[in-house]
């Protein structure tokens, strides 16, 4: 079980919880603005871009090659960017905050 917070571009904040699936699916299920997940979660569209809190970055780790290449499509990419369809919801991310990039 993980409780996480999404901070959206209009500075809204939403605490959501889940125990399985991807972070993108959790965001979509809760209607988090800015997380579209157009490809359904197969790392093909780059519409679920989030920034991970630098202090917690090790908990999710860096993007794999396909994901980091896809992130290049978004001008707003930083070293703390991830596509959240590639992050699993688990105890590991409990308590973390994610800032939605778009």
């Amino acid at each position: 079980m993980a409780k996480v917070i999404f901070v959206t571009q209009n500075n809204g904040s939403m605490e959501v919880e889940g125990d399985s699936g991807s972070l993108m699916e959790l965001a979509v299920a809760n209607g988090v603005a800015g997380i579209d997940g157009d490809c359904g979660g197969v790392c093909s569209c780059a519409t679920c871009h989030i920034y991970v809190d630098p202090a917690d970055f090790d908990k999710v780790g860096a993007a794999q090659e396909v994901e980091s290449d896809m992130l290049e499509l978004d001008d707003k990419v930083t070293e703390y960017s991830r596509l959240c369809c590639q992050i699993d919801v688990s105890d590991q991310i409990d308590g973390m905050t994610f800032v939605v990039a778009n």
């Binding site: 699916e25 979509v28 299920a29 809760n30 209607g31 603005a33 579209d36 157009d38 490809c39 359904g40 979660g41 197969v42 790392c43 093909s44 569209c45 090659e65 396909v66 290449d69 896809m70 290049e72 499509l73």
Partner: protein, 434 residues
């Protein structure tokens, strides 16, 4: 008389959307997010909460517990004040009274009508090839809806020999083949053309995917025309026999038909709007009737990028058109500027291969293959110096660079592409082409 953008776009009035797949649902949410204050009614004959279609032939089919991938949470529709009528078919449209009629007799008035009616699977006129939803023991299926995926999964579980014959070597057929192999089935793919995917890709890509499927154990037959489907003589099974024009026969526990689509243009025709290869729309997705719009697979639109009318069957197109139409209706499109063209993109996942495509290759006169390894390569399609399309297999870097080149109209150095060097922006992009 001059109208300001605000006056032209009153942001209220009743919007009725027919079709709740990627296009219709995205349009509904975009419209609300852009500030539309009037009612938004979303109608679809599919009773399921609107879902992603691409996973149906992939993740949905393969997952142990079959479930759909919702486009939006049910709660989000309420939060955005979007009224949906699922499981309702629109039976008529009257563009004079601006009303649509539902199969339960209900009439709904619209100020703006959005047709996001998409496509349906095409069943070729072959003797015995009828898809009958009402049969309990079905053995012939298409792959278009969540209900289809459910029925196919059940058919596989209940089948004796787990042998599926797929008619059509297109994306739906090949993705399904890949899923069936993963599920332990025996798969035969029958393609009418001399090579798979011949309508949409080059021989290079067809050859790679042919090899891939053969290596995974698919019986892949090309240049084969199915002329008849008949039940196996043995009355104790539901097995079907697929008969080809060369006299060969293939016995199947069940059959998937994946030979393309037909557009759902009936309502558009009834409304009297222009329909050719699709419902004709202008750059803001308006049909020949100013109060009727159309988006998604069912539309035909002039591409400023390719300088011709195109019709796309893709999530990207559905999403981009939805956004554009919503911006137009709410007066949010920048005035006096041409509408930004979008670049088409597609993907397909088969086995452990990730295929990503950007652009349209039609009309190319040269192709360059950039190969990293047997399982990682990309095909770059050019017309003279202009890059039209990149297809990348397990090669996201190539896909991303191709996207940037096409979007920004960059000139690609073909020599750099052909060299053994790793792909990079610096080596690949020469300058902005005129």
């Amino acid at each position: 008389m001059q109208f300001s953008a605000e006056e032209l776009h009153s942001n209220n009035g009743a919007v009725v959307i027919v079709g709740a797949s990627h296009a219709g649902v995205n349009f509904a949410f975009n419209l609300r997010q852009q500030g539309w204050t009037g009612s938004i009614t979303l109608i679809d004959s599919d009773p399921e909460l609107p879902y992603h279609r691409p996973p149906l032939s992939k993740k949905t089919l393969q997952s142990a517990e079959l479930k759909s991938t919702p486009l939006k949470a049910e709660k989000a529709y309420n939060d955005h004040n979007i009224d949906f009528k699922l499981g309702n078919k629109v039976t008529a449209v009257n563009h004079l009274t601006k009303q649509i009629t539902l199969d339960d007799g209900q009439c709904i008035h619209y100020d703006k009508l959005m047709l996001a009616t998409g496509c349906r699977a095409f069943i070729p006129p072959i003797s015995g090839l009828e898809v009958n939803d009402s049969l309990n023991n079905r053995s012939i299926f298409t792959m278009r809806t969540y209900a289809d995926a459910q029925a196919i999964k059940a058919a596989l579980i209940n089948s004796v020999d787990k042998h599926v014959v797929i008619i059509g070597g297109g994306y739906i057929g090949l993705e399904s083949a890949s899923s069936f192999i993963a599920m332990g089935a025996k798969v035969t793919v029958i393609e009418k053309q001399p090579r798979i995917l011949s309508r949409v890709t080059s021989a290079v890509m067809s050859d790679f995917l042919t090899e891939l499927h053969l290596n995974k154990g698919v019986e892949l037959l090309t240049d084969k025309d199915v002329i008849e489907v008949k039940p196996l003589a043995n009355k104790n099974t539901h097995k079907q026999v697929v008969v080809c024009s060369d006299g060969t026969e293939y016995c199947a526990d069940f059959i998937i038909v994946g030979v393309g689509v037909r557009l759902n243009t009936q309502l558009a025709l009834e409304a009297g709007v222009d329909v050719e290869q699709g419902i004709k729309v202008n750059e803001v997705c308006q049909t020949s009737n100013e109060d009727i719009f159309a988006i998604g697979d069912c539309t035909q639109q002039f591409s400023s990028l390719y300088q011709r009318w195109i019709r796309l069957e893709s999530v990207q197109n559905a999403v981009d058109q939805a956004k554009l139409a919503a911006q137009f209706l709410t007066g949010k499109l920048p005035q006096g500027e041409p509408v930004q063209h979008t670049v088409p993109w597609f993907w397909s996942d088969q086995y452990d291969c990730k295929l990503q495509i950007v652009g349209l290759s039609e009309g190319y006169d040269e192709l360059v293959v950039k190969q990293e390894s047997a399982q990682q390569f990309s095909v770059w399609y050019f017309k003279a110096d202009k890059l039209l399309c990149v297809e990348a297999v397990n090669y996201t870097k190539a896909y991303v660079l191709g996207t940037q080149a096409i979007k920004q109209n960059l000139l690609v150095d073909k020599t750099a592409l052909q060299s053994g060097d790793a792909l990079s922006k610096e080596s690949l992009f020469l300058a902005v082409s005129s």
